[in-house]
């Protein structure tokens, strides 16, 4: 894997019009079969392929060179790639020089690349021109959090699009928000969250949208860190290797000032006290969580706004404990939901006696009339046969004879329309269009608990607000009015209209004022 250019905008946020070298692309092999690939520039023989780096799929081989600098979404034809002799030559090479190989890997480590650079080292960039093959095609798509979620290398349970789309909407992750995520996992949520809060890369002195992510598992942390950097998300997502139950949510001792929080942890109730506006009582008592009591409590939350929170737990017991802890910590509007998502497949339901024997075709009668016609036909054949006396051999023969013409008849009479239809309508327009669920559905992902923590409001704040907005000068009533008041207003309105009916200018002026008022 090669790192993307560090200074450009992430391909997730602005892929540009064309595919670029050393950047992530998602290859779509079939509808749900996606393959993330870092496209490599053709630098010469790579891994035994004369065409440079090659992706091999069941639809054929695709050298990276054919997928570079093309429009996103392009359909790419497979190429004729010699996959056979490669295996043999590699084997030979391995036997010949172990030293050379070791050298090559050393070089590759330096460049953070596998062996493409090794190939560059010893051979001039003489890249074989790819030759189109007829074995198949793929599409090359720009990376989005949705495509990445479907194609990403699994490490833990993934937060899939139906869940994260709803969560991000509910916790108000918007451009400019700061989002704290604990339990980065496979990074699907992180990518989607970065897209949601992104409003430009951080610049001097301006607070920009950012995701602060915490991961406890060291291996996952390193993998994910590399991934974020490969995807050009370095300034937008900040990953910390930490156990938040003990370590809390501060970054380098400073508050991230989170506007929204997402907890994908096994025990959210243990992390919740650390997401308080004031030092929580539970920490005062045992004092173990922050180490020592002397440390000044810094809240990781934005002090000026309501903070939105979502926890993601698969078990109902976790939810009960989490909700109980939330209530005691002052969270309001606690709401628990689970998301049931279903994908639907559309197909043509083709039922009929006169349809061909394709796969997926049900060759039974498609309605009562067709069934009756068929039955009557059989009956009449049977009657004809019964009326004709004779021995067994004759019976067989005549039976065959009778079947021939009557079969033709049926096609001509009952199928008069359908036969014509079969010849006229193409296969993809036959039958009734239906939708049905996919063969396997995710019936449960996790329970989502949402809550809001209002900003702190002290006596002083209240006094200041009361001084700024003194009461007692109320002029009119808004909101619900009793019927008498509403009638009176309507009467006045009508009266005014009758009076000023002739004066168009005055009316227009009034309307404009109203509009300005509504807009302002």
């Amino acid at each position: 894997m090669t790192p993307t250019t560090r200074h450009g905008i992430s391909p997730f946020l602005d892929p540009g019009p064309h595919t670029k070298a050393n950047s992530l692309a998602i290859l779509q092999l079939s509808r749900d079969n996606l393959l993330p690939v870092y496209l490599q520039p053709p630098t010469g023989e790579h891994d035994g392929y004369a065409e440079g780096a090659v992706v091999n799929t069941r639809y054929g081989s695709f050298p990276h060179s054919t997928m570079l600098n093309v429009q996103w979404g392009s359909q790419i034809r497979a190429s004729k790639v010699d996959t056979g002799s490669r295996g043999r030559s590699l084997k030979r090479k391995r036997e010949e020089g172990d030293d050379a190989c070791r050298e090559a890997t050393g070089a590759s480590e330096k460049d953070n690349d596998d062996s493409a650079t090794a190939a560059t080292g010893d051979s001039t960039p003489a890249v074989k021109q790819a030759v189109a093959d007829t074995s198949g095609f793929i599409h090359v798509l720009p990376p989005t959090p949705e495509l990445w979620t479907t194609s990403l290398p699994h490490r833990t349970q993934v937060v899939y699009t139906p869940d994260y789309s709803y969560i991000l909407h509910r916790i108000r992750a918007r451009p400019g928000s700061v989002l704290v995520e604990a339990g980065a996992g496979s990074g699907s949520f992180t990518h989607a969250a970065v897209r949601a809060v992104y409003n430009g890369y951080p610049a001097e002195g301006r607070r920009k949208g950012k995701v602060f992510s915490f991961e406890f598992h060291e291996q996952r942390y390193h993998k994910m860190r590399k991934e974020l950097s490969d995807h050009g998300l370095d300034g937008l997502a900040h990953l910390t290797h930490r156990d938040v139950y003990d370590g809390g949510f501060l970054v380098d001792g400073n508050s991230p000032e989170a506007d929204a929080v997402f907890l994908d942890l096994p025990a959210p109730w243990e992390a919740l006290p650390l997401l308080s506006r004031r030092r929580p009582a539970s920490l005062d008592m045992n004092g173990s969580a922050t180490g020592s009591k002397q440390i000044k409590w810094v809240s990781p939350l934005n002090p000026n706004k309501s903070v939105y929170l979502c926890t993601f737990s698969p078990c109902i017991e976790q939810v009960t404990r989490t909700v109980s802890a939330m209530r005691r910590l002052g969270w309001v509007d606690i709401d628990m939901v689970e998301i049931a998502n279903r994908k639907l497949h559309t197909s043509r339901e083709r039922v009929g006696l006169n349809l061909n024997f394709d796969r997926g075709v049900n060759n039974s009668a498609h309605d009562v009339e067709e069934a009756i016609t068929r039955l009557a036909e059989i009956e009449s054949r049977f009657r004809d046969h019964a009326a004709k006396p004779g021995d067994g051999d004759e019976e067989m023969d005549s039976g065959d004879e009778a079947a021939g013409p009557s079969g033709q008849n049926s096609a001509a009479t009952n199928g008069g329309t359908s036969a014509e239809a079969t010849s006229g309508t193409p296969r993809w327009m036959e039958g009734r269009l239906i939708t049905r669920g996919e063969p396997e559905i995710k019936t449960h992902t996790s329970y989502l608990v949402f809550a809001v923590l209002p900003r702190e409001w002290t006596e002083e704040d209240e006094a200041a607000a009361a001084a700024k907005f003194p009461v007692g000068k109320e002029q009119k009533v808004i909101g619900a009015m009793d019927r008498a008041a509403r009638k009176q207003e309507r009467r006045e309105q009508l009266h005014k209209q009758q009076q000023g009916g002739s004066n168009r200018k005055a009316r227009r002026k009034e309307r404009d004022e109203k509009m300005a008022e509504a807009a302002g």
Binding site: L13, D14, P15, Q28, R58, Y59, W72, G73, Q75, A78, T134, S135, G136, H139, L141, P145, E146, T161, Y166, H169, R170, P175, G176, R195, N199, N304, K305, I316, T320, V323, S324, R327, V337, E338, A340, N341, L344, T346, R348, P426, W428, L433, V449, R455, W457, K468, F469, V471, E474, Q475, K476, V477, G479, K505, R508, D512, M515, E517, A518, A519
Partner: protein
């Protein structure tokens, strides 16, 4: 954004009954909550969101109710009492509520008064059909009028006067108390108007059909699958140096290189979809990026200068941001002489050079382009965020230069649209000086409108959009026929529909057999058509759309199931809103390879065969 309630902001007031009241909080007014009472609006202005307030009893020397922010412990007092009794959680200070329903020994619930005496205990006797309330309706009304202690007294008295209270089961007792609380407690919560809250209110309490039954799940899905996000910092075109004598030739041409991060929308949800996208792109909220100090400054100004005339207020923004001034249509009021005069003596505006008529007010990046079927788009819900697309002389709003709209006629047959095809009138400065101000204003207004429409139509027709998002009552096939060619390669398409049928028909246009037939070259009507012509395939009965223009076609539906989480009583809600489920069609714009494409797959057993068949396929 949404730090404290600002004067004249739209807010949602959530009442104990569960209903929501959406109102604009004008300063110095009285807000009435119907049976729950009324209070001065100034008591919630400048206060934070999501607090629960209680209407207090009127003080003897005041004629209005003051508010008390209810501590959270008090809101959850009953749950805490239950948990404490069940011993399943750590004890905590329960609120100072007068009567608390709590469990005493696991199953049984009891009613305790404030001294801790058990007033009523439940057992499992069967309730009489008409278990009675000894208080008459008149007595209840009397209690309500007295209205002490925010309705809590009424509730306590009601419970105590219920003869069959001791026969109620634990669950029915809890339910009874909840019912009475909903009816009589005088509390409310202040919520900000954002897309989520407004959509919920529209869906549950107003007209769901107005927003095409679009649930929060669907808004989230459409936004994500449409890959809608912040599309880059604002880029404005340089103002051209033009004189009034120059016509259409002086218009700034569209620069394709600058166009970035643009989304195409078809919205029949009265602007909810546009609002949801604008929220995701960071162009919905007025105060975006404003520092807190500025906000408070503004509040102070609003508070102290309330007496100042409206006209003055509406002019302020113009002097602060002259770019915005040029951006919106000069008002119709310019035709009358009065406002002009006001401007000339009130502001030093006349000294400044007038911005060119052909200046393009729109950003080249991070924009939403709305395609509408009527001559004006219906985006009425945007009013809740202070944006009115029909208002002339609009005060500054981020949507002003990020929201472009054009009709289908302007997109597809611009030559038939008068505003687009009529060249702008010209006049020498000398002639212009002779005209009456109203005529002059009209002249400039028309020229500005021409330049604007030119730019919107030409840039939209230039295509290269980053995505298409759609929630329309129109046939999606016809929309995609004209919208697909405008999309950049790999751009996502997300189409919402309340019912699945139209989306199924759309997905069927891209079915595998159809696509196979198309690429196999067995379709006589597409023989010899160029890639460009294929992209703009007009469609016929067999192929309503070019089936190779989309990849990864999929339909999905999502539904959130809501749960009640209470100690010992956790279960999904018994009833929820039914109606339309909502479906989303998703796909990506593909750029088909030129010529025939074979796809045999690579299977071992066919290897020999396929080599033999190669000449035929190629």
């Amino acid at each position: 954004m949404h730090s404290v309630v600002r004067p004249n902001a739209w807010v949602a007031l959530k009442l104990p009954s569960g209903s929501t009241k959406v109102i604009q909080i004008a300063p110095n007014t009285t807000i009435s909550l119907g049976k729950y009472g009324s209070f001065p609006s100034n008591l919630i202005i400048g206060r934070p969101y999501h607090l629960t307030f209680e209407l207090q009893d009127k003080l003897p020397d005041e004629n209005f109710s003051r508010l008390r922010a209810v501590p959270v412990d008090e809101l959850y007092a009953e749950v805490f009492a239950e948990e404490a009794a069940a011993g399943c959680a750590t004890p905590s200070a329960s609120g100072a509520s007068n009567a608390v329903i709590s469990t005493t020994d696991g199953e049984e619930f009891s009613l305790v008064d404030d001294r801790g005496n058990v007033v009523a205990r439940s057992n499992r006797e069967i309730l009489d059909e008409n278990a009675r309330q000894t208080l008459t309706q008149d007595e209840i009304e009397e209690l309500k009028r007295e209205g002490t202690n925010a309705g809590k007294d009424v509730i306590a008295k009601l419970l105590l006067s219920h003869t069959a209270l001791d026969q109620k089961t634990s669950f029915s007792l809890a339910k009874y108390k909840l019912l009475k609380t909903k009816k009589y407690i005088r509390r409310f919560q202040v919520l900000p108007i954002d897309v989520e809250n407004l959509a919920h209110w529209q869906l549950e309490e107003r007209d769901a059909s107005k927003i095409m039954d679009m649930r929060a799940e669907m808004i989230g899905l459409v936004g994500c699958w449409g890959n809608v996000h912040f599309g880059g910092d604002e880029v404005l075109l340089l103002e051209p140096q033009t004189s009034s004598a120059q016509g259409a030739e002086a218009c700034v041409p569209v620069d394709r290189g600058l166009l970035k991060g643009r989304w195409l929308v078809v919205d029949d949800t009265c602007g909810l979809l546009v609002a949801a996208m604008a929220e995701r792109m960071g162009i919905l909220y007025d105060s975006e990026g404003t520092e807190p100090e500025v906000q408070t400054e503004e509040l102070k100004r609003m508070a102290t200068e309330q007496s100042l005339a409206r006209s003055d207020d509406s002019e302020k923004p113009h002097t602060r941001t002259p770019t915005i001034k040029s951006s919106q249509k000069e008002s119709d009021t310019e035709m009358t002489d009065e406002p002009l005069k006001r401007e000339s003596d009130g502001n030093p505006k006349q000294q400044k050079p007038r911005p060119s008529d052909f200046a393009i007010p729109y950003s080249q990046t991070n924009t939403i382009t709305v395609l509408h079927a009527t001559s004006q788009p219906n985006l009425s819900l945007l009013n809740y965020w202070g944006f009115d697309i029909t208002a002339p002389n609009h005060p500054p709003h981020p949507l002003l230069n990020h929201l472009l709209s054009l009709s289908w006629l302007q997109l597809l047959k611009p030559e038939l649209d008068t505003a687009y095809s009529t060249p702008p009138s010209t006049a020498t400065p000398e002639t212009l000086a002779l005209w009456k101000p109203s005529r002059r204003g009209n002249f400039h207004r028309k020229r500005r409108r021409y330049a604007r429409i030119r730019h919107v139509v030409d840039s939209t027709r230039a295509g290269n959009f980053s995505g298409l998002v759609c929630a329309s009552t129109m046939d999606p096939i016809s929309i995609l026929r004209h919208a697909l060619p405008l999309l950049a390669g790999g751009a996502p398409v997300a189409v919402y529909s309340p019912s699945v049928e139209s989306l199924a028909a759309l997905a069927d246009c891209f079915s595998v057999p159809r696509r196979t037939a198309w690429v196999s070259g067995a379709v006589p009507e597409i023989d010899g058509l160029s890639g460009e012509e294929l992209e703009r395939w007009p469609g016929n009965e067999r192929f309503p759309l070019n089936p190779t223009l989309l990849q990864g076609v999929s339909i999905q539906t999502s539904r959130a199931r809501r749960w009640q989480v209470l100690p010992g009583r956790t279960h999904p809600l018994m009833t929820e809103r039914g109606g339309a489920d909502g479906y989303v069609f998703t796909a990506w714009r593909a750029i088909p390879a030129e010529g025939k494409v074979a796809a045999k797959g690579k299977f071992k057993r066919r290897k020999v065969e396929s080599e033999a068949a190669t000449p035929a396929a190629a």
